[in-house]
């Protein structure tokens, strides 16, 4: 049942998007095919491939180091490596370009040292975009892989080593395949976000499928053509998800929770190398952009902090917490419901329920808004008239609609960690509890919830941070007066006033830090 409800919710905007095929936009399509489509597809594939490879390598290697090894600084790098999650991609993109472009300090110093005309890598090309997106998206892979590796414990690794495999081999042959569902969940989140990204690619002026969607909408004034393009993107994501599911096969990934940490000691230069690697990732993906934000925020803090600003912080946090609770509840119900039915790898409904994440935010927001506006007009207004009230809007512009939008958009973010940690629990626990007379909900409460705590915390953190950063749906569906930090950032950046956007961006990053630390602490205990 829960999965049906969730799938129905997601179908609302998707139906609106699919209905766009009712109108022909031949001229626009012909134009796109003649002038753009080839380059767009090449660019998009290159981006997806590049980001996919980078986030997998970064996320898995970092997770292996912090979860399985011991080296200087591991204890704080462990959580510090999660922090880039709180940095919106458009912020890192802007800071990276600001520092590295021709007019930035790095190239200016370069020219002063080596003279004008000496080669410098083209930071505004595809390499730059891939770098920026990988830096903000690897935490998805890192976090999920880390959780999976930690929960494996050392038993299997010890067994592999007794059988004569060295550290690396036992990792590649035992730990890695066991962590595959979690890694796949992380990579697919990162790639869906890459496909939907508009902020970073537009700052780099890198044309992708998503920029074409916006161009059809804002340039040709055709929301129809934009929705048609978006539905192709959706099809692409759907196929990729099915392929991923097929490739995973029918393996089972159960194991017991809570085992002793492995903790290979990396000594001497190996330990230092590991520290240096982890540290440089934190530096590039978090410390440098936050340092730049701090620098700008100091200049504007005096004038911009006031009661209004605290109102923004309050709204952001409230919406984040409400959305996170709604999302966790939905994810847990759906995952548990699927498990009771014995669907370990999820049916198509479940895949459908997660599709909201892959759509460009504004297109999804308009789809949701259109669906709610339709309900207002077709169902609620006649009812209000029947009751003798003046027809007014009930859904659009209400907190409830905005929360529904967050649930639709971020369901797969909450579902990934919940589902993958559920998959690792042996069904025998449940069978034992049921034989002892526990009801379905007692099993959920007394067996699953305690075992799921790390997964639930990951999910909570991810969706909290994601909803607080969310821009297009918040902009379009927020009730009057419910401005958030993301709204403020949008208002400033869209006018090119990056210095004044720094303060809200910095606060957004800062309020995301405590949840990160709490989550990592708990998963260690």
């Amino acid at each position: 049942m829960p999965v049906l409800l969730m799938a129905a919710l997601v179908m609302l905007p998707i139906t609106v998007i699919l209905l766009s095929w009712g109108t022909a936009e031949t001229a626009i399509w012909q134009h796109l095919i003649e002038t753009q489509l080839g380059r767009l597809l090449r660019n998009t594939l290159l981006l997806v491939f590049g980001v996919g490879v980078c986030v997998t390598l970064l996320g898995v290697s970092l997770a292996w180091l912090t979860a399985m090894c011991d080296f200087p600084g591991r204890r704080w790098l462990d959580w510090a490596l999660m922090l880039p999650l709180a940095v919106p991609s458009y912020v890192l993109a802007f800071v990276a370009l600001g520092l590295l472009s021709y007019s930035g300090p790095v190239q200016t110093l370069w020219r002063d040292t080596f003279g004008v005309g000496v080669w410098f890598p083209n930071v505004r090309g595809p390499g730059g975009v891939i770098f920026v997106l990988s830096m903000v998206l690897y935490p998805y892979v890192y976090m999920l892989a880390r959780g999976a590796l930690l929960s494996q414990g050392r038993g299997l690794m010890d067994a592999a080593q007794l059988l004569g495999r060295n550290h690396i081999k036992s990792f590649l042959l035992v730990a890695l395949p066991m962590a595959r569902p979690a890694i796949a969940a992380g990579v697919s989140l990162a790639l869906m976000e890459t496909l939907a990204d508009f902020g970073a690619v537009s700052i780099f002026n890198y044309d992708t499928f998503t920029t074409a969607i916006y161009k059809s909408w804002f340039g040709f004034f055709s929301l129809t053509a934009a929705a048609q393009l978006a539905s192709l993107l959706l099809l692409f994501v759907g196929l990729a998800l099915i392929a991923e599911q097929r490739a995973r096969g029918n393996g089972r990934f159960h194991q017991q929770a809570k085992r002793k940490r492995v903790g290979f000691k990396l000594r001497g230069w190996r330990g230092l190398l590991a520290s240096a690697y982890c540290f440089s990732v934190v530096l590039l993906a978090f410390a440098v952009p936050v340092g730049q934000l701090l620098f700008w925020a100091f200049e504007t803090a005096a004038t911009d902090i006031g009661p209004r600003f605290w109102g923004l912080v309050e709204h952001t946090f409230l919406l984040g917490v409400m959305a996170a609770c709604a999302l966790l509840t939905m994810a847990l119900l759906v995952a548990y419901g699927q498990r009771l039915k014995g669907h370990h790898h999820g049916g198509y409904l479940e895949r459908l329920a997660g599709m909201g994440y892959a759509l460009p935010g504004s297109v999804l927001a308009v789809g949701i808004m259109t669906a709610f506006a339709y309900f207002d007009r077709a169902l609620i207004n006649p009812f209000q008239v029947f009751l003798g009230l003046t027809p007014s809007q009930v859904l659009v512009g209400s907190v409830g609609a905005l929360l529904a939008a967050y649930v639709i958009r971020f369901f797969s973010v909450a579902y990934g960690p919940v589902h993958s940690s559920l998959e690792r629990i042996r069904p025998s626990y449940q069978e034992a509890a049921q034989m002892l007379g526990a009801s379905k909900f007692e099993v959920l409460k007394r067996v699953y919830l305690p075992l799921l705590t790390p997964g639930l915390l990951s999910a909570l953190l991810l969706v909290l941070v994601d909803t607080m950063k969310e821009m297009p749906a918040t902009l379009l569906l927020r009730p009057f007066g419910w401005d958030t930090l993301a709204v403020r950032i949008y208002e400033m950046t869209s006018e090119g006033e990056w210095q004044r956007a720094a303060l809200p961006a910095l606060v957004l990053v800062l309020i995301s830090i405590p949840p990160v630390i709490i989550m990592i602490r708990r998963s260690r205990a």
Binding site: K215, M322, C325, S362, M369, S398, P450
Partner: protein, 347 residues
Amino acid sequence: MKGNPIAGSVRALVALVSLFLLVACGENSPPSGADAEPSITVYSSRKEHLIKPLFDLYTAKTGVAIRYITDSAGPLIARLEAEGASTPADILMTVDAGNLWQAAEQGLFRNLESPTLSSNIPAHLRSESNQWFGLSIRARTIVYATNKLSADELSTYEDLADPKWQARLCLRTSKKVYNQSLVATMISSLGEAQAEGIVAGWVANLATDPFSSDTTMMEAIAAGQCDLGIANTYYFGRMKKADPSLNLALFWPNQSDRGVHINISGAGVTTHAKRPEAAQALLEWLSSPEAQGQLAELNQEFPANPLVKASEEILAWGDFKADKVNVEAAGRLQAAAVRLMDRVDYR
């Protein structure tokens, strides 16, 4: 394994959520006597910090409360369209004539019979059927590096296609509506074929890939990556204000023919406005000398009302002849402009 903290906190949070929902719904449904307190609802793609001071002033003066949400023009137009007759919006305010034209095209504005607006706002800055009205003007003009060029080497937008500017020109992306409007008005006055030749010439002269904002483009010009580019005046004003010694200057092109390309920010009263008279009164006030000076000054723009003088800072840029083609052309020809720029591979 310790107790079960999650279940407890889930319960607490569910309670919290329900509470907030109650509060939120309470805020949302005004008491039935809401009509007694006059208020106007505005959907605006002009940002909060550029409109709120004026709205506050108006509320203080008249007692009429104004509530608003801000977003990009595209989503706001889509929302107005989807809401239809039940929309709470009385006014739609956007930047760029193209967006205003598009909203009018979709029947979202009503015709206004307002002698005040008609006399305050010149004809080329409003729609022919008086559906929307420009409230402030920005010029899109040539910016050049003063250490590399002097003004007498410059003449027109068309001249930037000349091979002498090879690898010396910087441009912002064609995806920005300001460039689409510039090219649309060029199509309107020169014809599509000639405009295409000129834009192709610009692309051939580019020193580097197009930039994503006017500001980063001007920074590149100042740093020496290229010699000149095309930018909106208020971005230039903002940079100069932050650093008056910056090696950039404005040049007003096409002074001997059609004049400098201008665009507007503007607004209209929506078709399904709940308080159309109050909304019209607000627009009339915004076009009045009292509001115009501040409206323009907030963003270093030119007032749309010709009787109002621009701020000192802006007057210092010198007087210029503006293109008098109706800004409506920008909307009508926008799609053609986008196709043209795609054909010549202007990213």
